[in-house]
Symmetry: C2
């Protein structure tokens, strides 16, 4: 860990830049960077990185051989050519320390009904030490931390003594293809840090995720003779209930899992979007439900998919109509493995030391019941991947917010981590 | 009923015009006259009526004081100013017989997924004696019958000896406001005939209909902590199931109804459209279900609405989340009474005689479990209203079709009915 004098210089630098950091984060939040609409923010970030002197590589998912990689996930309702990724490189002239990837996603999930928000979801309103907005917490705060951790090193008169890549990616909320694309583009390092909003805990493990769309047909008739038809909305709900039962079974089995045994119901199933029918007085002819289900580290994606398929097939077989009109399963997003950051890595030890220096005490650990991008680095490219970041609330909900005070502490922690992992050299005047 | 010679002349005239009638029906079917898109077809019909020499009154629902009438239904998602109605008047110089309203609706319900259709839904394909298409059966065939029944009288050298109004209306499938608007515009007659596709049966009674939209909120959270949120899709389905239970209770009570006691489950409840949520990995924050439920003749609309409201409230009270986050009920269409055509009317006797002349045998009767426009004439304006028309299949379904052979017979039956009810005079050369 950095010596106390260096840490003090870094801390002063974080403070000196902090007003600009909060303004930077507010700018990020003001971009409604939902899936398919991330490019303007990525362009803005590319300019911000260039102004800082980084070498910037801006490319899209159509520029890398995604489909050839077994861990790419299918993209439905989204155009790879519009999914812009940004990598800003600090290239150290002499590699004294260990190289590092700092990565954050800038895609956000839809904000839901704006009327449910206390403040407009893209206004970045600050009240009582919190900044409110969709993505403020998940994970634009973390992006601001990693950018301003590097800024603090520069302001303090240093530069990392090894290569550092600042990466802003998309698709974290739907496929993970953005993170994978940076690796397929060729970027590697000795460790990766993703400052997802973990509340200053290290993510020991995360579950995997599957996305799928249930598509059922009905027999449309005039409701006057509803008994002759088949209501696709009710058929869809029959399958949804079967998938909840499947999930309960998986959660029973999870009680023997080496990491998740103590987590209550770690497998979450969610019917998240439903659409069906087109007339109140016609039996609906169709219904679609976009679903998400988790899987534990160690479960093969293919096996989890087969389990879903089987649960749907068995439920269909129990239904007189669906037995002869089988539902269709479209795998339309995440096919994501779970991941365990095995304890004992040097990268984690360095981060724990930085955490202790800034926060005092041991770095807590968490078991996440959602996915994040670390799996790509850790599982497929042998790069220790740390998921650790600031504190906030309301991911995917209303009144999402991030703590301004924690933003500052997290920025300093990351700066301290970089200082130790990469080493510092005096910055050329 | 007309004497055999007159009937023979009418029959010859129907035959002589029949190719044009089928072509006319095909033209009607080719207009995708879904709600909000009926105006081009109404314009086309207004021209067709003018070419036949009728005095044409074309107006919209915004031109009549709909809102002041207690039996108007709320219009949501539809603009009254775009809902064009057409009344074509044959004004008899000397009123010898009884006046008549011939009314048909030209709005059609959505066609659903086109891929489910054997032939394209607006192509009016004819195969093996059937014409296929959305609205071919419900009820453009009936509209063609009433128009060509009047044409046959003219072709046979006659004119009705009393006023006849040919009316094409909209909103039959959603509110009934089109029919009501013709009455508010001032059109009255001694009887009304609506040639809905009844398969040559007289509609003894029809049920009423309510439309409502269930709107529920959820607590959106990241699915990783789904237990902290509340899924609006599941909440909506909880209410839907409660409304099915409410319907079963109503159908038990229906076993004592003077007309519907023998009809199995005459009250139909249908969740017809569902929309909810916006992200597979977020607990959905909202869900809306557009529903339809029937009511028996004799039940007050207000009481049926109160029953729905109570069922929803009681179901909400049983749910921990909904109890504190009450669902919203939007009454967004039909508030329609049921109607019984009391046996014994002179109009029905005249129609039965015409039916017997053309078809042989007694006119069958039917009890409908759906609404039609006759209620406005019969219940609120004291005009005996007959619902009787051609034969087809697939109302509101796929592969909707109407029988070409029955089209001819129905046209002749209506011509014979007009001849008797209105009387005929020789047509001026």
């Amino acid at each position: 860990m950095p010596d106390p004098a260096t840490l003090a210089r870094l801390s002063e630098a974080v403070d000196a830049n902090f007003d600009r950091q909060v303004a930077f984060l507010a700018e990020l939040v003001r971009f409604p960077s939902r899936r398919g609409s991330e490019a303007p923010l990525q362009d803005w970030l590319a300019r911000a990185f260039r102004e800082r002197g980084y070498a910037v590589d801006r490319f899209t998912l159509a520029d890398v051989p995604l489909e050839a990689h077994p861990k790419a996930s299918p993209m439905v309702d989204a155009d790879p050519a519009r999914a812009v990724q940004v990598v800003a490189a600090h290239r150290a002239q002499a590699q004294a320390g260990r190289s590092l990837i700092l990565q954050g996603h800038i895609d956000v999930v839809p904000e839901g009904p704006p009327a449910m928000w206390t403040y407009p979801p893209y206004a970045a309103v600050i009240r009582d030490g919190w900044m409110y907005g969709r993505g403020a917490h998940d994970m634009k705060a973390g992006v601001a931390c990693m950018v301003f951790a590097m800024d603090a090193i520069r302001t303090a008169g240093f530069a990392p003594a090894a290569d550092v890549y600042l990466q802003t990616v998309t698709e974290e909320e739907s496929t993970g293809n953005g993170a994978l694309a940076t690796l397929l583009r060729g970027y590697r390092a000795d460790a990766a840090l993703i400052p997802e909003p973990t509340g200053h805990a290290i993510t020991r493990a995360h579950t995997g995720t599957l996305w799928f769309r249930l598509k059922v047909r009905g027999v449309p008739v005039h409701v006057a003779v509803a008994q002759d038809g088949s209501n696709a909305i009710l058929s869809a709900m029959h399958l949804v209930h079967a998938l909840f039962a499947h999930t309960r079974m998986l959660n029973e089995a999870a009680k023997a899992h080496p990491w998740y045994a103590e987590v209550p119901q770690p497998i979450k199933f969610n019917p998240g979007i439903i659409r069906g029918g087109d007339w109140a007085s016609s039996t609906p002819a169709w219904c679609e439900v976009d679903c998400r289900i988790g899987l534990l580290p160690g479960t093969e994606v293919a096996d989890a998919m087969a389990g879903v398929q089987r649960a749907v097939q068995e439920a269909a077989a129990r239904d007189a109509f669906l037995a002869n009109n089988p539902p269709h399963l479209l795998w339309h997003g995440f096919q994501a493995d779970g991941y365990v950051l095995e304890p004992g890595s040097e990268a984690e030890a360095v981060l724990a030391a930085a955490h202790a220096q800034v926060h005092g005490g041991a770095m807590p650990e968490r078991l996440s019941t959602a996915v994040n991008d670390t799996r790509f680095y850790g599982l497929y490219f042998g790069i220790p991947a740390l998921c650790y970041g600031p504190k906030g609330e309301g991911a995917h909900g209303v009144d999402e917010r991030t703590s301004i005070a924690d933003l500052r502490r997290c920025t300093l922690t990351i700066a301290a981590f970089i200082a130790d992992w990469c080493g510092l050299r005096p910055r050329a005047a």
